[in-house]
């Protein structure tokens, strides 16, 4: 590989280096000299594929990461991390991300897991700390001074009080080669001493982006590259009867029509020619298998065979509900929503004989290598996946599927092929975010305190991330003959063996007791949470805050209904039921920053016409252990039109030590607005055969013309706890915060997302 990235062999050109990796044979052992080829020798000379850091004898630093930039600022944050731990200027760090020939296997960049994976006491952070400590030990020997007498500045180790005695990293390495294993005992630099990490460093990639120079996957060009398009079935479940190739005989530039089972595509010399060919190709399909009605879909979900899971069950919920002073119940509904990336998905593949290279915007280079190999019938070790950024994906958009598309078409013509999907192909077939039904029931005692919380959910799924073995989890894999992950109904659910709130199925206010251990964030001991997963007619997959957003909408809206029932202030009522001090803290801080007016909702003396205003609050401990967030929303509701105007959002966030406060605020703001778009507008629609929301008219979103609310972010930034994820926190609480604010403003409760003007008017009209 040349112009398109970095070769591991570049290391061979350097005579000295210090390399930190997982699999180093022996700590601080010197590598053998350069020898002739041969696998063993080659493995010893080229840094192993699980290496994280390589410092050259000129003091330059290369770091390797399997966590990719997706627009969340992770590339810059990881470069900051390396510079901080090695005490070198940021400009000396070259970060190489996500390439199966070069970088370590870190699974998938998703689930707000990059900070937990790379910024605490493992992997990238630990590798940098290991390298720094090794260099300090070398300096100690060289300078004849104990380690505690040494300080590092800009990659130079100095003896304290004697500036003449110093050694640069480059001089310490010299012409030698050091191959170090990750040292689990290496010490991180404490956040209080950080000078690069924790600072609002500018994004390294932004100047190129703002000037049109940045290479997105859409801009990858290879010599002799052709352009492909796919022809998807006209309906869900339709299968191919035949293709009439004569229908495109006259299309200029056409190279080939490719058919493989139900996969149909065309390859042409130019992108516009490929589009013309795809448009004109006559393909005959069977009728689709038919779709359940859109309007009654949530009822349909309840009736399907299900896989049941019990997350907590104190076994006394029915009894406690019987004894409660009052029992409240409500049902919340969430639609299918889309990633609907701004760019349609794109990939470039070069498949020749037994080898393939795929430039892909996938979040999962290693798993993708395996499934692409399955799709192509190649050996995984002969497939290289090189990450190139697409537009923001927010989960599994069409990145995997279009990479298979490009690879299949390239294989068919033996030349590099670029495919960028049409807007319709992207939106009709992507893996949507899950639709949810949530039944909530709770009992209050005479004082209004919750004594039992009973929660039952239904979610529909099909496919998902392909992982290393299941290309049928996305549409192209299915079309060429792979099945999606099997669906195995199970009922009733067995009792839980451990507490797991990764999906935020368990409300924040219950104790989360499994056996003798209580690991939830709340105080309510009477608790039961049962989930039902049913088969979806559409592909589904993780969409920013998958399940957590839907569950949190239901939990935090219902908590507001309970506060109303208990005639309590919604913030104080939450604090009464929360046990976790960090969750209580973000609630308190958000309230304080927003000048929260303590009183029950709705606002007293509301007018039932005209524009009224209100405030609402919601919170979450994301994934049960991955970031604390609370949000106060202030809204105005036009009761005649049903319009909801969001005036102000205040967000308090505790994600441990912050790597880049400005980057984090960017994530909070973007998540909050994306949350408004999802709460107010976004919903996948379909008829009896096919998805009908296939462009931006059918799937409306907020544009840059939207009158944005004031957004205030408060970062708690505690130094002495592990770093958690943060990018999916603010979006998770938006729908509930808005719904609660609308209730405060109007006394009407919205229990179905999106809160369209029609739905708002409907609940306003049904007020008592």
């Amino acid at each position: 590989m040349s112009a398109h990235g970095f070769t591991r062999r570049e290391f061979l050109e350097r005579s000295g280096a210090l390399v930190v990796s997982f699999s180093a044979a022996g700590v601080a052992g010197e590598l053998g000299g350069r020898t002739a080829a041969g696998q063993g020798a080659a493995r010893a000379e080229v840094p192993p594929l699980d290496s994280w850091i390589a410092i050259a004898e000129d003091g330059s630093v290369r770091a390797f990461t399997g966590k990719c930039e997706l627009g969340q600022g992770l590339f810059t944050a990881q470069a900051q991390l390396i510079a901080e731990e090695l005490v070198v200027p940021l400009s000396r760090v070259t970060l190489i991300q996500c390439d199966t020939d070069v970088t370590p296997d870190q699974g998938t960049t998703s689930g707000a897991q990059s900070h937990p994976a790379n910024f605490n006491r493992a992997n990238l952070a630990l590798a940098a700390a290991t390298a720094r400590e090794a260099l300090v030990r070398l300096a100690s020997e060289r300078l004849g001074a104990p380690v505690d007498q040494l300080r590092i500045e800009d990659g130079v180790v100095n003896v304290v009080g004697n500036r003449g005695r110093s050694a640069s990293y480059g001089s310490l390495i010299g012409g030698r080669k050091f191959n170090l294993a990750l040292d689990p005992g290496a010490k991180r630099r404490p956040p209080r001493e950080w000078t690069v990490l924790g600072k609002p460093v500018h994004r390294l990639d932004l100047p190129a982006m703002a000037t049109g120079q940045f290479e997105f996957v859409h801009n990858v060009k290879l010599p002799g590259m052709l352009h492909g398009q796919v022809v998807r079935p006209p309906a869900v479940g339709a299968t191919l009867i035949g293709v009439d190739e004569t229908s495109v005989r006259d299309v200029p530039g056409l190279v080939k029509v490719v058919v493989k089972k139900n996969f149909v595509g065309v390859v042409a010399g130019k992108p516009w020619q490929a589009l013309e060919a795809a448009r004109k190709l006559k393909a005959e399909w069977t009728r689709g298998t038919g779709l359940p009605g859109h309007k009654d879909f949530h009822d349909h979900m309840r009736k399907q065979p299900a896989r049941d899971t019990r997350l907590v069950d104190s076994k006394d919920v029915d009894q406690k509900l019987k004894e409660a002073a009052t029992v409240t119940s409500a049902t919340y509904l969430h639609p299918y929503q889309m990633h609907a990336s701004l760019a349609t998905s794109c990939a470039v593949a070069d498949v020749r004989g037994e080898n393939a290279t795929i430039w892909s915007p996938t979040q999962a280079i290693y798993p993708h290598r395996n499934t692409a190999a399955l799709v192509l019938g190649l050996q995984p070790e002969n497939v290289r996946v090189v990450f190139r950024m697409g537009s923001g994906c927010y989960g599994i958009n069409g990145a995997e599927t279009v990479s298979y598309d490009a690879a299949l078409l390239s294989q068919a013509v033996g030349k590099p092929v670029r495919v960028q999907l049409t807007r319709k192909d992207e939106m009709a077939w992507e893996n949507y975010g899950f639709p949810f039904v949530v039944d909530q029931r709770a009992g209050l005692d005479e004082q209004g305190q919750i004594v039992a919380w009973d929660c039952e959910t239904w979610a529909a799924t099909l496919g998902g991330r392909p992982g290393p073995r299941t290309p049928g989890n996305v549409v192209t894999g299915f079309l060429v003959g792979f099945e999606p992950a099997p669906f195995e109904p199970r009922s009733p659910a067995p009792d839980p063996t451990a507490f797991n709130n990764g999906g935020n199925h368990v409300p924040s206010y219950v104790a989360g007791c499994v056996g003798a251990k209580c690991e939830g964030t709340g105080r309510v001991k009477g608790e039961r949470v049962v989930t039902h997963v049913v088969r979806s007619p559409f592909w589904t997959g993780p969409l920013r805050s998958p399940q957590r957003l839907q569950n949190t909408f239901a939990h935090e809206s219902f908590m507001d209904e309970l506060a109303h029932k208990g005639m309590a202030d919604p913030l104080a009522y939450r604090l009464r039921h929360v046990r976790d001090p960090r969750l209580a803290n973000v609630l308190t801080v958000a309230g304080k920053t927003a000048n929260w007016e303590a009183r029950p909702s709705p606002r007293p003396g509301l007018a039932r016409t005209g524009v009224t205003s209100g405030r609402g609050i919601a919170c979450v401990l994301y994934e049960g252990d991955n970031g604390y967030c609370a949000m106060v929303a202030e809204v105005e509701v036009d009761q005649a039109k049903g319009d909801v105007v969001v005036k102000r959002l205040v967000v308090a966030l505790d994600c441990g030590p912050v790597s880049n406060p400005d980057g984090l605020k960017n994530q909070i703001e973007g998540g909050a607005l994306q949350g408004i778009s999802r709460a107010l507008r976004e919903e996948v629609t379909w008829d009896d055969q096919k998805v009908t929301s296939v462009d931006w008219r059918g799937y409306p979103t907020l544009s840059l013309g939207y009158a944005v609310p004031v957004i205030e972010s408060v970062l708690i930034d505690p130094p002495d706890v592990p770093a958690t994820g943060a990018g999916e926190t603010s979006i998770t609480v938006v729908a509930a915060a808005l719904g609660n604010a609308i209730f405060d403003a109007t006394g009407a409760r919205l229990r179905q997302v999106p809160f369209t003007p029609e739905r708002v008017k409907l609940v306003l009209a049904s007020r008592a």
Binding site: T211, K270, R423, E669, Q674, L704
Partner: protein
């Protein structure tokens, strides 16, 4: 196919393409420009915007034949990473992006407005941007960057 002459970023190019080809494909494929981008092909998202004689227009639905002698300016026609145009600099200073894919349409639409009306109100700015989408929703920063540029040219 046929030879067509295009003026792009101050240079004349002769391209061999069907005159009905939308301008976007010629710019991004034949000329290898990375500024204008395919987002929807339906003039609904703003990703493909270019300035044609100063007007921000969707190049995904503008046929090559319709461009004629007009001056086409793309995002890379404004400035470079080393020497960004003041509006590009404003976006960098405000860190106004996440994935960055929408920057093309946002920057060119805002520049077209403010170059004609440096005192544009917030509402006029939003009106000018209503056809441009950012799915990362970096709106807050982008609006801040646009106003920074407005202040810059008002000096």
């Amino acid at each position: 196919m046929g030879a067509t002459t295009l003026n792009v970023n101050g240079r004349r190019h002769v391209v061999d393409a069907d005159p009905q080809t939308p301008l976007l494909y010629v710019l991004s494929d034949d000329l290898g420009l990375r500024g204008p981008k395919f987002g929807c092909g339906l003039a609904q998202c703003g990703s493909c915007i270019v300035l044609i004689d100063g007007d921000p227009l969707p190049s995904c639905v503008t046929p090559l034949a319709g461009v004629g002698d007009s001056e086409v300016v793309t995002l890379e026609g404004l400035g470079t990473p080393e020497k960004p145009h003041p509006i590009q600099k404003a976006f960098i200073e405000e860190q106004a992006a996440q994935c960055g894919f929408c920057l093309n349409g946002v920057i060119l639409s805002a520049k077209a407005l403010l170059d004609r009306n440096p005192k544009a109100s917030d509402e006029q700015i939003r009106e000018a941007l209503k056809g441009v989408l950012c799915r990362c929703f970096a709106n807050v920063r982008m609006l801040r960057a646009i106003k920074r540029y407005a202040r810059e040219i008002a000096k």
